[in-house]
């Protein structure tokens, strides 16, 4: 269905727009073909209305030959052909109309006047058709630009949804199965410890799942999640994992996106502490200067460690999230110096 015909208001506006060429034609007929003004008007305006509808057919040509097309020559020649065809048909219709007028009001618009105006009408016919085609192309490109923008927005929303869903489901399988294995071991050597660890793991999983669906949480909650994780890992690693936390004043109430710190802590354990036979100290520090919140994680690393296979997405995802949320106001800085790996997350301190 032609877009202009869809809406009554646009149709009316469209026809109104065609009055202009109609008047132009009448004026030209009056001046060049020396036709009487009244006759020219009576002839031209209805003729133009008819052509207004006829040139809508250029839309179909534009659709068949979209720009930018592969064969520009083909497109142009088709357009010209269509223009000539439309004009020819229109000229016939004008002839009929001129005859009808002649019959209704003899002398008003004699057929000779029509014949004299033939070249004028012909050029109007072709010209207006091509202009209509051009306008159609313009409309199409505006539409397509709008569609592209809408698609881009939709994709962004989808990506965010997918990421949140992935976050909610994102439990490191190594962590999970190794923890369950530790619980299995404790059941026969220390049943009380086995129960404690089971409950800690359940709480950690529950928190991960709940937080993943939220936009923002308190830093206090994220720290609790991280603490649970580290307590469980401490059972697995024993003395190899020593945790130090330094919580700055006023930081616990800050609002942060969920599961932002957790992946960094996981990396610190998996790629840092776990790769060192004797393990080491993991430091977690939070501080704020009122405007910015600074979250720091420091852990020892083995400089000669082999690159993790398939992993490494953790940092990328965190970076992408803070860029989307804070733009240039957020930053993740990582540095490896003197056998230590330091990750510093800086985000605006919001409450």
């Amino acid at each position: 269905m032609h877009p202009i015909l869809k809406d009554r208001r646009t149709l009316a506006l469209y026809l109104l727009a065609w009055l202009a060429p109609g008047l132009t034609l009448a004026t030209l007929m009056a001046t060049t073909a020396k036709a009487p003004w009244g006759g020219a008007i009576c002839f031209s305006l209805p003729a133009m209305i008819v052509y207004a509808f006829m040139s809508l057919s250029s839309w179909y040509v534009c659709r068949a030959f979209p720009l930018p097309g592969t064969d520009l020559a083909k497109t142009l020649s088709s357009l010209f052909f269509a223009a000539l065809l439309s004009s020819a048909l229109w000229l016939l219709a004008c002839y009929a109309w001129a005859s009808a007028l002649e019959w209704m009001q003899p002398g008003l618009a004699p057929r000779e006047r029509y014949m004299d105006s033939l070249p004028l009408l012909a050029s109007f016919g072709v010209g207006l058709f091509l202009i209509a085609a051009a306008v159609h192309y313009l409309i199409e490109s505006l539409e397509s630009a709008r569609r592209t923008e809408r698609n881009a927005l939709e994709l962004q929303v989808l990506a965010r949804d997918a990421e949140l869903k992935a976050l909610r489901a994102q439990i490191d399988p190594h962590f999970l199965f190794n923890s369950l294995n530790s619980i299995s071991a404790l059941t026969s050597t220390d049943a009380a410890a086995a129960r404690t660890m089971t409950l800690m793991l359940a709480d950690f999983l529950r928190m991960s799942m709940n937080f993943g669906g939220l936009e923002m949480i308190r830093l206090e909650q994220e720290i609790a999640l991280v603490r649970h994780f580290l307590e469980i890992e401490k059972v697995r690693f024993g003395n190899r994992l020593v945790v130090q936390t330094e919580i700055g004043a006023g930081t616990l109430s800050a609002r942060v996106p969920p599961l932002l710190l957790q992946p960094l802590v996981e990396n610190a354990v998996n790629h840092g502490i776990a790769q060192i036979p004797d393990g080491g100290h993991l430091l977690l520090r939070t501080e704020s200067d009122g405007g910015s919140l600074r979250l720091l994680i420091r852990n020892p690393v083995d400089p000669g460690r082999t690159k993790p296979r398939g992993r490494g997405m953790g940092l990328t995802i965190v970076r992408r999230r803070i860029e989307r949320l804070y733009g240039s106001g957020g930053n993740l800085d990582v540095q490896e110096t003197g056998g230590n790996f330091v990750a510093v997350l800086t985000i605006p301190h919001q409450v």
Binding site: F177, N181, Q275
Partner: protein, 243 residues
């Protein structure tokens, strides 16, 4: 049967210990928490069976196995490793997934015991090779010297020479022997840095000083420490392409 348990987690080793307690014919002759200790203990005690964790710091399970000669029978243990599990299935190798039940443990033990004299060495070789190709290009070469393990970072390797079933790795004026095929090492090393210039030689191109031509197909390269190595025709083509 004499057994060594290798796992970096004490609790994990504890489970194997617990499950083995009821087997009076099985004696635990060692427990190791990392790959280096494992190579030492296995070389010195020569156990019949290994319970080998894959994910360990510094040296993983596959690398430990690659360094052993002869190799004991192995039951691999892992919490989660889709690559490894696929490789195990393909090569019909025994493995246990943490956490595992006593029944599952017993089944694996029976299977391994049943392989008395029927050593699937090819399967394990395949496994080690496929793991190596996953990690290619390798950044270090591991060599066993008695019961000690040397870690040679790839950039420190000057050149490698084939010697029957072994290769001789030259690095910093020292030579290390490794039970390895030259072509396997060639496949694992960074092709932009290491070139097989000859049927029996791989060279680190950063050590090259000049190329000398004596006759039409008689060429040698000279390294920065004065060593001269022969270059075959295909080797010369490869060098040309790289330099």
């Amino acid at each position: 049967m004499r057994v060594i348990i290798v796992d970096d987690e004490d609790l994990a080793r504890g489970i194997v210990r617990e499950y083995l307690a009821s087997h009076l014919d099985i004696r635990i002759v060692g427990e190791c928490s990392n790959g280096f200790d494992a190579v030492k203990a296995i070389t010195e005690s020569k156990p019949d069976l290994l319970f080998l964790d894959i994910q360990m710091p510094k040296l993983n399970g596959f690398e430990v196995l690659d360094l052993l000669d002869p190799r004991p029978r192995v039951i691999f243990v892992t919490a989660y490793d889709s690559y490894a599990i696929k490789a195990f299935e393909v090569n019909a190798i025994d493995y246990l997934l943490k956490p595992f039940s006593r029944e599952r443990f017993e089944k694996a033990l029976l299977r391994v015991a049943g392989k008395e004299g029927d050593e699937p060495q090819d399967a394990v070789d395949n496994l080690i090779r496929s793991n190596r190709s996953l990690n290619a290009p390798i950044e270090r070469i591991l060599v066993r010297d008695g019961s000690r393990v040397h870690v040679i970072p790839s950039p420190m390797v000057d050149h490698i020479e084939a010697q029957d079933d072994y290769v001789s790795i030259h690095s910093g004026g020292k030579k290390y022997l490794k039970l390895e095929r030259l072509s396997d090492l060639e496949a694992a090393l960074d092709p932009k840095r290491f070139v097989r210039i000859h049927r029996s030689h791989i060279v680190n191109i950063e050590r090259l000083v000049r190329l000398e031509t004596y006759a039409k197909d008689s060429r040698i390269v000279v390294l920065n420490d004065g060593t001269k190595l022969p270059v075959s025709r295909p080797g010369y083509e490869k060098l040309k392409g790289l330099l």
